[in-house]
Structures are given as C-alpha cells and as structure tokens.
C-alpha cells in the first residue's frame, strides 16, 4: 500500500455512506526494532492547515477553539476502525455528532433549517 497515494486525501465515509471528510493526515506510530505502523487517520481543518504552514495551523486552531462549534473540529479515527480502502476509505463509525461534522451540523441547525423550504 502506498500511504500518500492510497490513504492521504481520500474520501472518508461512515457506515451509512455519509461523507465525513478527506483523510487530512495520517498518524504513524514509531516502534523500536520494528517498522513504523499506521496508528490513526485524522480529519480536520487544523490537520489540513498544518500541511500548508505550522503557523497557519496554530492560528486556525486558536480561532476554532474560541469560536468553533465543537473544539477545533479534528477527528482522529484509530486504524482499527478503518474497514476498507477502495474508491473511498470506509470507517466503522457513525458520522453524526463527530467533530468532523461539527460545522455541518451547526450550519444545518442554525442557518439552513431557519431558511424557508429547507426540509
């Protein structure tokens, strides 16, 4: 398997086919005397920003912690919950209520549902 090609930036979908986000980061576990192994994948704006510039990430994190609907919106999914890697990365999880959907749900409840004809 090729980390950057088959996992990073792939679409993540939950058990019911809801889109969670893209794989914004991959967490490796370094082990002594053995090759490193994937510990988890991460979804979230701060993780994404860290790939651009650490300062941007720090700034974004501070802003999100202060104003974001649910902390900084980073979702870490342990590798054991990753079920399949194909067109999408399928994870054994329900998207609703996770940090990755914080903005989606906040906007849905506070903006979209208050607009006419959104049901």
């Amino acid at each position: 398997m090729n980390l950057t090609r088959d996992i990073l930036d792939q679409q993540v979908v939950d058990r019911r086919g809801q889109r969670l986000g893209k794989v914004d980061g991959v967490i490796l576990e370094l082990r002594e005397g053995a090759p490193p192994r994937i510990a988890a994948i991460e979804i979230g704006p701060v993780t994404l920003a860290r790939r651009m510039h650490p300062r941007l990430a720090a700034w974004l994190q501070r802003w999100l912690q202060r104003h974001g609907p649910r902390s900084d919106g980073t979702l870490r999914i342990p590798w054991s919950q990753v079920k399949a890697i194909g067109v999408d990365v399928r994870v054994d999880l329900i998207a609703d209520g996770t940090a990755a959907r914080a903005w989606e749900e906040w906007l849905r409840d506070n903006v979209v549902r208050r607009m006419p004809g959104a049901k």
């Binding site: 930036d9 651009m52 849905r108 979209v112 607009m115 959104a118």
Partner: protein, 404 residues
Amino acid sequence: MKKYLQVALGIFTSIGGFLEVGAIATTAQAGAQFGFRLAWVLLLGTICVIFLVEMSGRLSAVSKHTLQDAMRERFGAGFFLVSTIPGMVVDWLVLASEIGGVALALQLVTGIGYQWWAFPVAIAAWLLMWKGNLGLVENGTALLGLVALSFAVAAVRLHPPLHDLAAGLVPSFPRSDGASYWFLAVSILGALISPYLFFFYSSGAIEDQWDENHIGSNRFTAIVGMSFGAVLAFGVLTAAAMVFYPRGIQVDRYEQVALMLTEALGRPGLYLFAGALGITCFGACLEVALGRAYVLAQGFGWNYTLNSPPADSARFSLVYTGMIGSAAVLMALGIDPLTLTVFSMALTAVTLPLVTLPFILLMNDRAYMGEYRNGWIGNVAVVGISLLASLIALVAIPLQLLGG
C-alpha cells in the same frame, strides 16, 4: 429513457456551460469587429471542449471519482487550496455576468433596468437549486434552451457568404487592432472552455451513477451536446458579422446585440433573443454556482447532493447560496454587464491550465483510468489549446486594460 436523460445532461451542460452570456457576448463582439476572421477560435475552443467534456464523463464513469475528488487525491491538499482560490474568484465574476445576462434579457422585454432584476433572478435560481433536483434543473433548461436555436435560424436567414465563413476557420493574424483581436480570441476561448463545466459535468455523472457502460454514450453526448452549443455560437458570430460588421457597429452594449436578431427575424427576434439570452444564462447561473459548491464539497469531503433536501448537505447548500447572493450584489450595484462578462471570460482563460494540466495527468494515470486512458490526440489538443489560451491571455489582458 436512461440514454435520453444522459443526453439531457449533455445538452444542459452545453446550454449553460457552452452557449451562455460569455459565448454570446464574445462571439457577437468578434463578429461585429472582425467579421468571420475569429471563427477559427470558435472551432479550436469547440474541439478542446468536446475533448474535455468527454474526459470528465469518462473519468467519473471509470474511476467513480468526480474530477475534483480525483484532483484532491492525486495532487494533494496544497494544490487543491492553491488552485481553488483563483478559480473561485473567477467563477464569482462569471456568475455575476450570468446573472447580468438574465437581468438584461428581462430589461429588454420589460424596459425595467437590469440592476432591479439582479436579486429576483438570483432568488429564482437559488429556489430551483434549493427546492428542485438535478433532473428538473437539467431537463427544464435543456428543453427551454432550444429557443437558442433562433441564433442559428437568424444566421441562415441572413444568407452568409459561406466562403468567407470557411476562410475564417483558418487562423490569421490581424492587420490592425491586434490587441483587441487577441483579447477577443482569448475571451472566446475562456467563454467556451469553462472549468466549472467539467466539475459540474463529472459531478452530474456521479450523481447519475454512471459506469463503464456509459462510455460510449458519454462520447456521443459530449460530441452532440457541445456541437449543438457550437452551432449556436457560430450562429451568433455569423449574425453579428452580417449585421454589424459591414455597418461599422461595435458591440458595446447588449441592447445592440438584440438588433441582429430583429434584423433577421423581425419583431419576434427581440423576444427570441431575450429568451435565448435569459435561459442560457439562467442555466449557466445554476451550473457555475453548483460547480463551485461541488468543488468545495468534494475538495473538503463534505456531503453533497441536489437530490435530497438542503439540510442533508448544509455546507454544500450554503456555498451555492452565498455565491449566488453575493454575485447578485455586484450586478445590483450596476456594473456594466458586457464589460464584466468579456473581462471575466479572459480571466477564465488565464486560469485554464490550473485545471486542464492536472486533468490530463489524471486521464493518463493507469490507477484511475485503467484501459480507458487518454489517447495522445486528446492530450495534445487539450494541453496545447489551454496553454496557448493562458499565455495569450496573460499578454492580452494587461494590454486591453491599459489600452481600453
């Protein structure tokens, strides 16, 4: 029935994405100022667009990825963010132009100034996305858009000299007015080859769940749909070349463009022109706003679909809402729609390679396309034409800005 629906996506894509305010404005100006001499640009743009639309459909059918999904995966987050920002700015200007096109069509019919129509138009387009679904959007526009055939009818009724038209298909250098010639040339290319078209089309293919069995009909759709748009665009160029060019009329305002249809078709010409302009631009409003919403949703991995209520994909729905609302403000302020249109089309040409070059790399990637990879003709045509458009635009835009 299935096949019919697929062709509907093609015709809709063509009506909203190919023949819209940009194509009408730039080809009318080209015909008025240079007669048939810019016809070759239209031909070049059509060839490039047929290849690209076919590629967008094939990419989705084979890889099950939309163009944007595939780009984010293949080229990473950095490229996504860097290419999205200029694309978004340009699309916003294009969207404002399209709203302006519909608003002007309404002005022509009612006599009420286009600024007053900006918000009603934006709200109507928004409601259709908010309450409707993709099928309704596609079929409705495809059907109503047939009124644009009046451009072709007008062109035929004006009895254009076919040898002049044929001569225009051979590239030529202008004897004078070089700056406006090349500026118009890239504006035409930018108007025909619009990136939002490919994002929209490949997303439509995924929403309609295409697979390898659709490849044949996809090719058919791309060729027929885009040629349909091209014939109409040639109609506009021809009518302008016949009515305006000999009289020395430059097209500075949309009101003038209507005169070429009333010349050919009489009183109904005005209403046909307003109808064609209004409907094609309305289709384009939907395509641009949706195309951008698709790009962001797919780039960040959000839920997106037109086929269920907006609450199911809140961020996606709010992107097109915000785009269309803010673009309407620009038009309501009373910016000249024709100037904005031609300028934003030229800007589109500048940003073309940002989309076409990575697109071509994807289409040649065995991991995505398997045995359905691109042939060399498509590669050469698309890379050549888009690079050319971008380079000429980089020179022509500053010249036009400072000279005009």
